[in-house]
Amino acid sequence: MNAPRVLRSIDADFIVQAKVSGNLRHVGRRTSGLSVAYHGAGFLIWQNAGNYVPLERAGLVREDGRTVHFANFELHGNGEVVVKSMEIPDKDTYLRLERRGDRASALVSPDGSHWSCFDPIGARLSREVKLGVAAISTSTEPLKVVFSELELYTGEPKRSQEIEHNERLLAAGAGASYPRRAGSGSRVSNPEGGIPCVAWCPRRSSWRRSRAPIEPSQRREGSGRRTTYGGA
């Protein structure tokens, strides 16, 4: 757990966004005996060493030498890990992380306007957590990352029952639902609980799972049909 990070306390719901630049894609060899060569940089919600949520722009080198570039969204909580990943272009990337009630949601964008969205993760973190940025490298190639255009928005803490009330309303609505992406993520037990995230294999295994084509619903960038109408 020795990745550099900058954190501050926060005790409300929030939406945070930043642009991540740098050499996330790399061709280095791994420096860890437990993890592939990995570069990652992004947001971190931190309750403690066993409960935290990272969202990173990431690059890794697979064992076959192929490099891949993706967004990585994880929940580490009480010995379990939820991992979601989404392939993205190797260029400056906007990351957005939201905590609303007991859910964390993540979005990725090339321009800060049009977003590709992860399914939300149930994240029952304490009211007060730390929020900030982190940079991770397990590669023989140095990582140089730049965070810019940081924006932070805070709201009132939302009560769990209010969230559940809204979800009941949503579920009762005509055709409304929380669609789930088959194979979009994986719940993995951490067999060695407490192993540092940067040196843990599920990240690699999650990437293998994520090689399934991304559903069109996930490709939000400019996919909407735009027309112009008059209003009243």
Partner: protein, 197 residues
Amino acid sequence: LTDPKGDCPSSVNNGVLSIAVPAKNHSLCAETGEMDAPRFLNPISGDFIAQVRIAGNVSHRGKTTSSRFGAYHGAGLLAWQDARTYLRFERAAVIRSDGQALHYANLELRREAKVVSSVGLRIPDQDTFLRLERRGVLTYALVSTDGYRWTSLEPLDAGLTRDIQLGVVAINTSTEPLNVIFTGLEVFKSQARRPTP
């Protein structure tokens, strides 16, 4: 609640705002002076991200009650500088010339009582989340069916002043009443000190 005609009953219960707009002209169009739509506004300063879920019969087959516009149901977020300059972002439905209903997210900017931008994005006729974001110079409008996966309209430079009012509005120019339910209103305020116009 601002209800110029005084004929739009509303209620607030457990964070749920319901507004009933009768089958009469209740528009919010500064360019024609028709400003009778019921709206609920609160002051806000600086950048923000606001989101709300719209349920109700934003769907109709009525005839128009307006001499200038077609039959329209709309409900959504309203960023209000004054009665001549404001931004509407609504879940909306109009009746096309072939009689079919068209459902869309409607983003309209008025400045000095003129429509300077009007953009629509087709959406399904179902409960809809709307999100409006003022971030620096630009304002972003996004729409979602679940409150987590968003489709964006193109950002625009709304040019609103730093101190405005933000809230919800319900608009009806149809011979069918509009009964709209706003839930899950969330407002996130910027923690940055970046100046806005």
